[in-house]
Point group: C2
Chain length 207, copies 2
């Protein structure tokens, strides 16, 4: 079954299931059901069962899902069994926060290289990584075979930096720049723009 036959919206929910299962495991639970998971996430139990059914049969009638087992299967499906090296570009306030964030490693990612153009920043330490010269990024990423990048540069630089990331062989970009970037169809892009979320909510508020 080729990945492309599975709706992208389903793929998007798997990490949410995994996150919830991890919380349950941390709370000492051993089993859960599609109903309980759905309650927790505000999703129907039928949807959860249907989503999972794209990948196999992971539960047991009567008892539901073994949390450890289902977590393991989701990690396998999402290719999270080993840790992905991620390149971070841009060390402003946001880049610094991302570099310091402790929540990546347990969930399959590691900031493995940090780049900036500012000569004052190059060489500075951030955690135990040295900030590296942006001009070395392309060859460096290529050499280290890094495939995932996070973009925390000003929006005016986003497309330029992206073009270099593409030449370096990056195949997945999480961009914090509030602009659409152009990439070939085999490269995946996700966006984070907090203002879009805020503006969506104000629609529903009384002025």
């Amino acid at each position: 079954m080729p990945p492309s036959s599975i709706p992208e919206i389903v793929i998007g929910r798997l990490p949410l299931y995994l996150r919830t299962l991890s919380r349950m495991a941390a709370a000492g639970k051993e089993y859960t059901s599609s109903h309980e998971l759905g309650q927790y996430l505000g999703i129907s139990s039928a949807q959860i069962r249907k989503d999972l059914s794209h990948f196999g049969e992971f539960g047991k009638q009567g008892t539901g899902y073994n949390i450890a087992y289902l977590s393991g299967q989701l990690k396998r499906i999402l290719k999270l069994e080993s840790v992905w090296d991620v390149a971070l570009i841009g060390v402003g306030d946001l880049g610094r926060a991302i570099a310091h964030y402790q929540g990546f490693i347990d969930r399959g990612f590691r900031v493995a290289a940090v780049y900036d153009t500012d000569p004052d920043k190059i060489g500075m330490k951030i955690g135990d990584l040295a900030i590296e010269d942006f001009s070395k990024m392309e060859t460096d990423i290529q050499k280290r075979n890094i495939r995932v990048a996070m973009l925390a540069v000003p929006f005016s630089e986003a497309q330029n930096v992206t073009d270099i990331l593409l030449k370096a062989g990056i195949k997945a970009i999480l961009s914090y720049a509030p602009i659409s970037i152009k990439v070939p169809s085999d490269v995946h892009v996700e966006y984070i723009d907090p203002v879009l979320h805020l503006q969506k909510m104000t629609f529903f508020l009384d002025k």
Copy 2:
């Protein structure tokens, strides 16, 4: 036409249209079309016209949309004609980055108050705001009639803090904590969890 009759997925795209129109205006463009907007965003022109048609008629046959006019209308629809005060809770690395972010004000938001529980941080300045004592948050938010909050606390605190925000009258929460929070149905919540985006993309990558 009550807001509730408009699909939420449509509301979610309006801020994206607005952002794109702002970029076009900044580039000196005066008119655009549903086709051009769609090209830029990777959305069909029909979808854009349909989305807008929920709210009125903003274009002209033959010439398309006046960018300034449509931007103004979208701002009105999204209630962005004046600036919303936002409370920020949690001044770790992420909270600090959010407090320093310069991209809010032009798009309708202003970090108006910052709270933390750490006695060492209370009183410290962050930009031109003093970090305030979390214990004063509830009455303070109530008094100032703040309705929007951003949550940048550890996930273990997220629900506790949320419960206090609800008592203070907060109606919209943008949470950076990687956990589902429980709120009454008249309160809106949006989430930002970068790891969910990364995990979605690795599904499509070769290991």
